[in-house]
Symmetry: C2
Subunit: 471 residues, 2 copies
């Protein structure tokens, strides 16, 4: 603790918005996965962008570092401050306004501390749909969604968070504010700084607000659940549905038999809607804002054709809200079921969609060779090539014993992903968790570029030091 730093921060935000220790500090210093034990000189809670800017000026004066935090729901330690002498957690919760909905531009301007769910509700109230869909929507906040370029359940159609951003407000390391809340769909008047800040995890600037592009609310929707012939059949089926629906597959989740079994064992609400069993299943959500009644019929035709060709061995198509929700539960129950099933070693990987079948076929025997009776609980967003390649401990093994395999299993999976030109940080970011692994696996030329960009925008390493890339 540094009393003069704390005093200077209190001058900016008021004494009650600077937290140094005690019970009120706990939630800002808790990393929910338990992988980090955050420590900070203080937590500061500004009310608006001007206060954020002044905090950065104070940080410069005291050579303090700023670790931005919004919902603190990340999975890679991106806001887990780790230096109690120099680092200050800058919590953005109080910047929680919807500044504007511009209906004719189909955009909304939202502050970083707004929860995703509040932003979604504001969009809905204005007759739109904000298509960032995360399980944590009531707790995660826009600032974190932007900082991690959050993915989620509907990237296959709507893209990542970055694809929604039509402008930013950013406080730079030196305390200056870049107000680029323009809402432009075309702007080639310089380098793409918006896209550079999005996904930079608070290491290049503090994003305090964004203009997000809105979509129109779906008017037709259906959800298919299919038992597949194999993984390749799932890839092929997803592509057919994409093409036949006019690119309106909005969710496309691959589920392994093991993952489905865990979910059904875990929750009485999870019931596979047919007796057929397979090694792999596919859940496909199709939706479009065009009114009409053709979408479900097109989907059913496509599934019938695929069944005749042997791509799938059984399927149902849900058309009511209740059946669609029941089918989605088969997927959304997997993460809590997995938590309940004992220790898991997780990987957030992506590959070109075309390489997923080979990757899975290649990895499966290696995993069983490394840890006999390991339970690969694999599921994820196959439409965009992103799998949660999660490995659950054998039924008969203690958590602690399984954890001893963690480094080896990470290396086994990551090395293969890297060899196939995939990403080991597909949608959750790098944070503090994967900094060293990125350096190990990326070519030196890329690490050099990341460092050069970091040094260019944060020359004194004042913004979230230790995350993404070290300089």
């Amino acid at each position: 603790m540094n009393p003069t730093l704390v005093d200077a921060l209190a001058d900016v935000v008021g004494g009650d918005q600077v937290i140094v220790e005690g019970e009120s500090a706990v939630r800002y210093l808790t990393e929910w996965r338990g992988a980090f034990t955050p420590q900070a000189a203080a937590i500061v809670r500004p009310a608006d962008v001007d206060e954020v800017a002044r905090i950065l000026t104070v940080a410069a004066r005291f050579d303090a570092a700023i670790v931005p935090q919004s919902g603190n729901t990340g999975t890679v330690g991106g806001s887990a401050a780790d230096d109690p002498r120099r680092q200050v957690i800058l919590n953005l919760e109080r910047l929680d306004r919807i500044r504007e909905v511009d209906a004719d531009n189909a955009t909304m301007t939202v502050e970083a501390g707004c929860t995703l769910a509040d932003a979604q509700r504001a969009a809905e109230a204005a007759g739109f749909y904000l298509p960032i869909q995360l399980a944590s929507s009531e707790r995660c906040r826009i600032g974190g969604n932007l900082a991690t370029n959050a993915g989620g359940l509907n990237v296959v159609h709507y893209g990542n968070t970055r694809d929604r951003v039509l402008g930013l407000e950013v406080v730079l390391a030196d305390g200056r504010v870049w107000d680029n809340l323009t809402g432009l769909r075309k702007d080639n008047s310089g380098y793409d700084l918006n896209d550079l800040f999005v996904g930079s995890e608070g290491t290049l600037g503090i994003m305090t607000a964004a203009v997000l592009e809105l979509a129109d609310p779906p008017q037709q929707r259906a959800v298919a659940f299919c038992a597949l012939a194999d993984v390749a059949a799932g890839v092929s089926l997803a592509a057919r549905l994409r093409r036949r629906t006019g690119q309106h597959v909005v969710g496309c989740e691959l589920i392994s038999a093991q993952a489905l079994e865990l979910a059904c064992d875990y929750s009485a609400d999870c019931v596979v809607p047919f007796a057929t069993r397979a090694d792999w299943y596919l859940l496909v959500d199709v939706a479009i804002s065009a009114p009409g009644d053709w979408l479900a019929a097109t989907c059913e035709d496509t599934l019938q054709d695929a069944a005749e060709e042997g791509l799938l061995v059984d399927h149902v198509l849900g058309k009511t809200p209740e059946t669609m929700a029941a089918l989605w539960r088969l997927r959304t129950s997997i993460p809590p079921a997995q938590t309940a099933a004992g220790a898991s070693i997780k990987h957030d990987i992506s590959l070109p969609v075309s390489k997923l079948p080979a990757f899975i076929a290649d990895m499966t025997p290696r995993l069983h060779a490394a840890v006999p009776d390991i339970r690969p609980c694999i599921f994820g967003h196959v439409g965009d090539g992103n799998l949660h390649f999660n490995l659950t401990r054998p039924v008969a093994m203690e958590d602690a014993e399984f954890r001893r395999h963690e480094a080896d299993l990470h290396r086994l999976v990551h090395d293969r992903v890297a060899a196939m030109r995939g990403s080991i940080a597909a949608e959750h970011g790098v944070g503090r968790l994967k900094v060293d692994e990125i350096v190990r696996l990326k070519p030196a030329v890329e690490i050099d570029m990341l460092r050069a960009v970091k040094a260019a925008l944060d020359p004194h390493n004042r913004l979230n030091p230790g995350a993404v890339v070290r300089i």
Copy 2:
């Protein structure tokens, strides 16, 4: 000319691929709009990425600068070298291969020297559609499309070129190659370097190849041409069509009466399909890869509703290839008609869609006050907020006299765009043409960031110096 530099370049590519002067140099040193008179120490034509890398090494050794060029069809002097002592034009035409089409990933890997039309044909041959649609497709090349983040006629649905890019191969200033041809749809393992290079106009690295995401070929299509009540009605109609078609407006062009009149006077192939006349017209192209017959009917219903509400005063809906082509000619004939009508002073601007009506209403009297009888020949991509705000000389004024108003008219238009938070370089880039104007109009904090990024990746100012931003 520097004989040792030229010799070293010839060592890399062979003597016949280094051009120093004479007739064979002309086309590389011609800027087709006539705004620049390019000069270079040499033109060098590498065959592959290794030769590009070695050329950069040679440039470092001789402290030469590299101006990349592919199709040389740009409009802002981006490849117009301007230093005959230091600058070498690196022409990429010979890197013209389609390296791969990955059907299961819906991507293609294309080299920078490939023409856009050749890339489109390769996509089509593989059953896909490459949705970058530019008038110059047979002459422009992928490298330039990437370097300028080219826009074009279908950005409203498919996005800019940047939105197509799932990976790049880039030669850096120091001659190292960054091979990031991954084809990933999700990758948060570092800053978004892909998006940083795209649109950087050759000033941060030389893009030699890209992985482009492909779309599915349209199966339903229709083209509407409407006489509007006013500009605001056009904005509203475009939004309704977007929503009712499920976001399948793929082209959305606003056309002023003056622009339409020029086109019809210029070409006998341009015939307005109804007798009604209005101040503003809207051309809307709708398309979707889903088979069926609902799209045109939905479009017609929406137009009928809009007519009853007074948004439009007349319309036709073309459904055959011939009628759709005839309607598009009303738009595509405008640029040549404008060229034939005498000198024009052009602006490539964008605004939030919601602000376009106010901008046009505000500017029109100012233009007439500045130059009585000026002919504002305004058209463009209203769906994404981008207008070609082009001003043609009065009928009775000489070109040279009109040109004397150029600086004043640029300032009049650009100042208003800047005041409304728009872009003065929406889809054509900055090049050498708008470097000073960008500095004049952007906040200092943004120019400082552009310079910092440039200096980080090109510390010796070796890549296209003088374009985009000066350091």
